[in-house]
């Protein structure tokens, strides 16, 4: 060990170098492009005059609507994933027989690891106006004409909820599983009901899982390109498609780059604002909790973390 000394990070140098060349450099180039402009019909980008004009152009009413649309789908999709996924994760971690947990997890992971594009196409087949779901709903009499959901914003919302739901369930499951039975039982022994135990004990302790799930769903969802392309048509446009079309069809790399940078900024800003809002809203609740619980609460939330390190 002491005969020759390598720097501590020597083993990480290949990965560093690779990511610098194929991630940092190209992304930096896109940022650079975004300050340029499109010269004439045949050029894709030029940088001899630098300005913020492309950003203004990207936020002009034509494109701004796509940004708000994407943000709407992102927030609504994440919220629905949380509402749908939380009970499932709780059931898997707490109510389902422990011997079945491995199987249930595998079942959640199968769609997660099935080709993203293909399962989205599966929805296209299901939602098709001439498809069997449409026929079935019509024969029962729930809808009058053929199903009119495909190529709308509703279809995109359904698609993103479907595609990102496993990313919500898995971290929530891990978090609920880590809370463990003893604390819940103690709470019930001390006279708290089911709902009270869930709201005051289980949910606060599972908070890291909730945060992880929301981030894991929201961030990739905002940059989604495939779901909107397959299910959205012209009505359910998202920023990912806008960026792609600037590079592929419009050949305006400067504008496309500005949109890409804006997309990243919108994602970061929304996460920051969302985090701040949650922090402010739960502030009185947490202050009250601290008074009631005193010492045990920090101790209880530290314990699972040390387990995590040991695991």
């Amino acid at each position: 060990m002491r005969s020759f000394r390598m720097p501590r990070f020597a083993l990480a140098i290949p990965a560093w170098a690779w990511l610098l060349v194929f991630f940092v450099a190209p992304v930096a180039m896109v940022v650079w492009f975004s300050f340029g402009y499109k010269p004439g019909i045949f050029g894709t980008h030029a940088n001899d005059v630098l300005s913020f004009d492309r950003y203004l152009e990207a936020l002009s009413p034509t494109f701004f609507q796509t940004f708000t649309n994407t943000l709407w789908i992102g927030i609504a999709g994440t919220a629905i994933c949380l509402v749908v996924g939380l009970p499932v994760a709780y059931w898997m971690a707490v109510k389902a027989p422990p011997s079945r947990r491995g199987l249930l997890l595998a079942l959640v992971m199968v769609p997660f690891w099935t080709n993203f594009l293909v399962r989205t196409i599966g929805w296209q087949v299901i939602l098709a106006p001439e498809g069997w779901l449409s026929t079935a709903l019509q024969s029962v009499g729930i809808i009058g004409g053929p199903l009119d959901l495909l190529y709308t914003r509703g279809a995109v919302l359904l698609g993103v909820v479907y595609n990102y739901l496993p990313l919500m369930i898995l971290p929530l499951f891990v978090a609920f599983d880590r809370v463990g039975d003893p604390l819940r039982e103690a709470s019930k022994d001390l006279g708290a009901g089911k709902a009270r135990t869930f709201v005051r004990i289980t949910l606060p302790l599972a908070r890291p899982g909730v945060i992880a799930g929301v981030l894991l769903v929201f961030i990739p969802l905002m940059g989604d390109y495939i779901t909107a392309t397959v299910l959205g048509g012209a009505k359910g446009n998202m920023v990912g498609q806008l960026v792609a079309s600037q590079f592929q069809t419009a050949q305006n790399w400067a504008l496309g780059s500005a949109m890409a940078v804006l997309l990243i900024l919108v994602i970061m800003l929304t996460v920051a604002i969302g985090g701040l809002l949650v922090w402010l809203v739960t502030l009185p609740f947490r202050l009250q909790n601290r008074l009631v619980l005193g010492e045990p609460e920090p101790a209880a939330s530290v314990a699972p973390r040390s387990q995590e390190v040991a695991a």
């Binding site: 060990m1 501590r8 990070f9 020597a10 990480a12 990965a15 560093w16 690779w18 990511l19 194929f22 991630f23 940092v24 450099a25 190209p26 992304v27 180039m29 492009f33 894709t44 499932v88 709780y90 059931w91 947990r101 491995g102 997890l105 595998a106 959640v108 992971m109 199968v110 769609p111 690891w113 099935t114 080709n115 993203f116 594009l117 293909v118 989205t120 196409i121 599966g122 001439e130 069997w132 479907y162 739901l165 971290p171 499951f173 891990v174 089911k194 894991l216 961030i219 990739p220 940059g223 989604d224 390109y225 495939i226 960026v243 590079f247 790399w253 997309l263 990243i264 390190v309 695991a311």
Partner: protein, 280 residues
């Protein structure tokens, strides 16, 4: 026997419904692969025509073969770089590791579409303006694109595994006069092995799945399978696409089963396996 409360029943019903929801499109795709109709959406009858068509049409075979080649090479590369980086982060932590984790985080939160539009001009720059003709090769471009996220995933997994294991074994090995490289090969690497294998198989699956980056960086002639499907969206989806997807699903399930087996053998619980799979 205790009566089950209504809330338990409601939870169970809800969960079963969500599982059905999760499997609905997959079941539809599997059923569609036995569709003898001309288009995916209209049912013509039951038959194996779609599977036969795969054998007959070289375009589909070539696309799948490109995907498998790319997946294998990208997974090998990501595993090599990610394992070394993961070991470095776990065993030689320091200020640099924080910067490195920051970079990995950045790689994993950047939307794929941004990577895609950034890599396209960059690879053109390297391949044509800088004259590095290797970057004009279709497989090389795909491997570069697919490796980014996988490197981050492998690094996380390997680091998480080694941080959990005490460094005493390595110290003992050094005390017994093993050279650093011997310690690395005989102690550190075997300890990290389950995570390395899991990382490899995950990277392979991620690469098979990659559509967005692949669609941008591909050169005609080496079109990977998902990009072929994406282009088929415009010209009409035929049942062959469902048939290949069914085969790919079976392959993915086998790969995932192997990962779970490897991790279980290494003594991980179901929860830990879930954490490894999601890279957290």
């Amino acid at each position: 026997m205790k009566q089950r409360s209504w809330s338990d029943v409601a939870l169970t019903v809800w969960s079963v419904a969500v599982f059905l929801f999760l499997f609905a499109p997959i079941v539809v795709i599997i059923l569609s692969s036995f569709n003898t109709g001309r288009l995916l959406v209209s049912w013509g009858g039951f038959g194996f025509d779609a599977f036969l068509a795969i054998v007959e049409r070289p375009v589909i075979r070539d696309a799948v073969w490109v995907s498998i080649q790319t997946g294998a090479i990208a997974a090998l590369l990501a595993t090599l770089l990610g394992t070394l980086a993961g070991i470095a982060m776990a065993r030689h932590p320091g200020k640099w590791a924080l910067w490195f984790i920051g970079l990995l985080l950045l790689v994993s939160v950047t939307p794929e579409i941004v990577d895609a539009v950034a890599l396209l001009p960059w690879l053109v720059l390297l391949g044509q303006d800088a004259g590095l003709s290797i970057f004009n090769d279709g497989i090389v471009r795909l491997v570069v694109g697919h490796s980014l996220f996988s490197i981050a995933v492998v690094s996380y997994i390997v680091r998480a595994r080694l941080v959990g294991l005490d460094a005493q074994l390595e110290e003992a090995s050094a005390d017994l006069y093993a050279k650093p490289f011997t310690t690395f090969r005989r102690v550190t690497l075997p300890l990290a092995m389950p995570a390395v294998l899991a990382g490899f198989l995950l990277s392979f699956t991620l690469s098979l799945d990659n559509t967005v980056i692949a669609a941008f960086v591909q050169v005609s002639g080496t079109t990977p399978w998902p990009v072929y499907v994406l282009s088929a969206l415009r010209s009409g989806l035929r049942p062959e696409i469902a048939a290949v997807s069914t085969i790919m699903l079976v392959l993915t399930l086998v790969a995932l089963g192997l990962v779970a087996l490897v991790l279980r053998r290494a003594g991980d619980s179901a929860t830990q396996i879930a954490r490894t799979m999601t890279g957290s």
